[in-house]
Subunit: 192 residues, 2 copies
């Protein structure tokens, strides 16, 4: 970038500066969106593979009578919503990653689109995290007031899956907030 | 605004145009943020007043033995989080409403601040809605797989409160998404 020895290239170096910034910005966007994709897919897969069969006692029978009973994610609508939300967000992250890579020139419009849609997906991912987290907390601690028994003292592996998936989706929600902020801030810098 | 009869005011009319747009924008912002405040406060109040005492049978005793039992929001951590989130968002909406009213000139910086913070509050409100909605759904339908009994067949009034609060907070989340989009889009229009 040393343009002191060649004064002829100084006129070319000036318009390169915003392009370099745009490229850096684009690289950051692509990196974060790939990370978002990984987070969404892993959250959905970890939640989807949450399945454990244990021998549990049946109410109405003596405690020695135990039957195999399976806990899986599809038993709770909150967990089904979680997987749907993570899948949709994963798909969105693929589309936006490809858009970040291919569209390097029309940054203004693409920044606007990113900033607008990212907010919607912040809402989707945060609500899915909240719903799954709220149900998972009941599974972990139970609720004595309404006699909802905890299940994580029996289904350890199942609960580890649920907990991990919720933690990863919380990370994904943070990433989306960051991505939306970056898009907005880059729009702002273009004004000044 | 008819400047045809007075050509001298035509030079003054031109710079007035962006100010009028900014004023219109500010009025929309103020209106939506006041609506957001109303939604957050009503959601928090409706959730906070969710309390109902009913005579319920006790397990281990014959069904004729019934004791008074109270269902209230504080029995669930998800509902406590919901009230906390709505209170914080209500406070935020007061601050941003005052900022929208007082700062009519420095719109660029204030738009950026709104666009950045609104996204964070979209996440907070959406996660609170998700958590409360997830727990409320178990209360409404129960979950046979883990033997969590439904409670809304006994606590009708309590469940109406919870349901209304969740519906209003969903509306508040939509408002925040809209507000964030308006801020971002106004920033975008300033570039062109």
């Amino acid at each position: 970038m040393e343009s002191t020895d060649k004064p002829a290239t100084a006129t070319e170096a000036a318009p390169l500066q915003p392009a370099a910034t745009a490229a850096e910005y684009s690289a950051l966007q692509v990196g974060l969106r790939v990370l978002l994709f990984a987070a969404c897919v892993s959250a959905a897969v970890v939640m989807g593979t949450a399945k454990q069969t244990e021998m549990v006692s049946v109410p109405g029978f003596p405690p020695t009578v135990r039957v195999p009973f399976t806990a899986k994610y599809s038993h709770s609508p909150a967990f089904i919503y979680f997987i749907a939300a993570m899948s949709v967000t994963g798909l969105y992250s693929i589309i936006t990653t490809l858009a970040s890579i291919s569209v390097s020139r029309k940054t203004k419009t693409i920044l606007l689109a990113f900033a607008l849609f990212d907010v919607v997906f912040v809402g989707i991912v945060a609500s899915a995290t909240g719903a799954a987290g709220g149900v998972a907390y009941i599974g972990l601690r139970g609720n004595n007031h309404v006699r909802w028994n905890k299940i994580c003292n029996v289904y350890h592996k199942f609960c580890r899956h649920i907990g991990s998936a919720v933690a990863v989706s919380l990370f994904a929600a943070g990433l989306l907030v960051l991505l939306s902020m970056i898009s907005t801030f880059t729009l702002y810098k273009k004004i000044r």
